[in-house]
């Protein structure tokens, strides 16, 4: 039996001890993201000033993959420009749905730890939830 697991240390740590899971009263942008079929339900908060992501947080419940993915996302995107965030989010999405190059994988830093989820189509939307919701904020508001 195949013992390959995508529940690696990075994922487990971010799920158990998230840095960015908290409320963020008064932040610029908030949006809820839901996966109706699995009940993952996150609120993504984002602070953007002068085109730079100052910080962000998430709230809500979901599986370990959706939670860890959200936490890792904020680690990666804090301090980046909106343009860069969009680009990284697109790379992340391609990593989950298709394939990316080694250079691209490097740019994703810890988010690359979620790569193996691409083998599990049923869980891809869990990994994508935070990023998809972030994209919606970036597309709509900016």
């Amino acid at each position: 039996m195949d013992k390959r697991t995508f529940y690696n240390e990075v994922l487990i740590e971010h799920n158990k001890y998230p840095t960015h899971k908290h409320a963020m009263p008064g932040c610029c942008y908030s949006k809820e993201g839901i996966n109706p079929s699995c009940g993952d339900d996150l609120i993504i908060n984002l602070d953007i000033k002068d085109g730079i992501i100052q910080g962000g947080s998430f709230e809500g419940d979901g599986c370990a993959i959706s939670q860890a993915s959200a936490d890792i996302m904020f680690d990666l995107l804090t301090g980046r420009s909106v343009a860069e965030a969009k680009e990284l989010s697109a790379i992340f999405s391609r990593m989950i749905k298709e394939k990316i190059t080694d250079e691209e994988l490097e740019r994703l830093e810890e988010a690359g730890a979620l790569m193996d989820i691409s083998h599990m189509p049923a869980r891809a939307k869990c990994a994508m939830l935070a990023w998809r919701t972030l994209d919606e904020i970036l597309l709509q508001k900016i």
Partner: protein, 402 residues
């Protein structure tokens, strides 16, 4: 029962290194069912009911024989009370749809809260469309429905009560026979979803005196794409058709339509004859082993699984505290670990189980849990498989860092 021989009859189980514990979703198929497709298409393929030539007669016979066999399987009086559909969902939609014409504003429908969405949503829809009242009958925290609560919930205006023989989350057998008596004393029809019981225990529509009973062939070792609806003849005869088209008419002109008699009235268009033929093989297979043997082995396996889970720390079992009430289905939660993560870890170890709301969201809301994990057995499962399941179960929290 020689379990080695039994497992050898299921090629997928035999050939793949997996532990299949998602039998409530669909069962695996024995050789005789798989071979039936080529048997049908090699020997009997013609459009049943249409041709005058021998081959079409053979196709019709192959199909109609299974209707007779199905009538025997559920103990219906008359084969014309058996309607073939695509699946249980279609059977239940058909029932709600044809009954809706007999219901008027203010009439009431009572639906058990633990129903699969397929015996929930069709009723909700006709209630919305026809401004009927819809009421829900809640079970207790162990999934039990009491006779008293049903009596209390019925009113003079209650025309239909919809409930399953066995919930696909809880696994408990509902007292259908008693419920039917109570309903009929109140002039209420009872529509029973037998999808989760047909593979595990005898179905008897006469003794239970149910008005409608639906199930899917694919959950009892048969093929996907075949649903069964039993309906009492006197009801089906006077109710309107569901779909209209070929095969279901006696006479059509611009002015006038005369519908065919039962069962053709409810089987519009070309039927799924090959799958129905294969379903016949599934019933034959089940009958050959016998429900006594199946029940005995499944009780043993369910008890073994249940005890193993009860003795594992940080596991919460949904429903009855007594394994005898679980009938091959044990839904559960693991403390701190989301059901989808639990299922993924099992998948990593080659164990197929289900996580989510199992198409029974109102029940999950009632129980106050968004989703659960479900292990479900069939007689071809083994104690060794359950041992492995329990081993992986006991490691889940530590694999998630707890």
């Amino acid at each position: 029962m020689n379990i080695k021989e039994i497992r050898a009859q299921f090629p997928l189980i035999n050939n793949q290194n997996i532990v299949y514990l998602d039998n409530a979703a669909t069962t695996q198929k024995p050789h005789c069912v798989i071979d039936a497709f080529s048997e049908f298409y090699c020997n009997f393929n013609a459009n049943p009911m249409r041709g005058i030539y021998d081959l079409s007669v053979a196709a019709t016979d192959a199909y109609e024989n299974v209707r007779e066999q199905t009538a025997g399987f559920v103990n219906a009086k008359d084969p014309s009370e058996i309607i073939f559909t695509r699946n249980a969902t279609e059977s239940l939609n058909l029932t709600a749809n044809i009954l809706s014409g007999t219901l008027k504003e203010g009439d009431e429908i009572l639906v058990a809260t633990s129903e699969h969405h397929s015996n929930f949503l069709p009723w909700k829809r006709i209630a919305d469309n026809k401004r009927l009242k819809i009421k829900y009958l809640d079970c207790d925290s162990e999934g039990e429905y009491s006779v008293e609560s049903l009596k209390e919930a019925l009113s003079e205006g209650t025309k239909v009560f919809a409930i399953a023989t066995v919930s696909n989350v809880i696994g408990r057998v509902n007292p259908i026979r008693e419920f039917a008596k109570i309903c009929h004393a109140n002039n209420t029809l009872i529509c029973v979803d037998a999808t989760q019981s047909v593979a595990h225990m005898k179905t008897n529509v006469i003794e239970d005196d149910v008005d409608f009973l639906a199930f899917s062939a694919h959950k009892m070792y048969g093929p996907m794409g075949v649903g069964i609806l039993y309906g009492k003849k006197e009801l089906l005869e006077k109710l309107p058709p569901f779909l209209e088209g070929g095969e279901m008419i006696e006479y059509v002109s611009k002015e006038k339509t005369i519908y065919a008699d039962l069962p053709q009235k409810y089987e519009a268009g070309t039927v799924n004859a090959a799958d129905v033929y294969a379903f016949g093989k599934a019933m034959e297979y089940v009958k050959k082993i016998g429900f006594e043997e199946i029940g005995e082995r499944e009780r043993l396996l369910t008890g073994y699984l249940f005890d193993g889970m009860k003795n594992t720390d940080n596991i919460r079992i949904i429903g009855a505290k007594d394994s005898a009430e679980h009938n091959c289905i044990v839904s559960f939660a693991v403390d701190d670990v989301h059901p989808h993560d639990v299922a993924s870890i099992f998948a990593d170890s080659g164990i197929c189980i289900r996580a989510g709301h199992h198409c029974a969201q109102p029940l999950h809301i009632l129980l106050g849990i968004p989703s659960t994990v479900r292990a479900s057995l069939a007689f071809y499962n083994t104690k060794e498989e359950i041992d492995f399941f329990i081993k992986v179960l006991s490691e889940i929290r530590s694999r998630m860092g707890y």
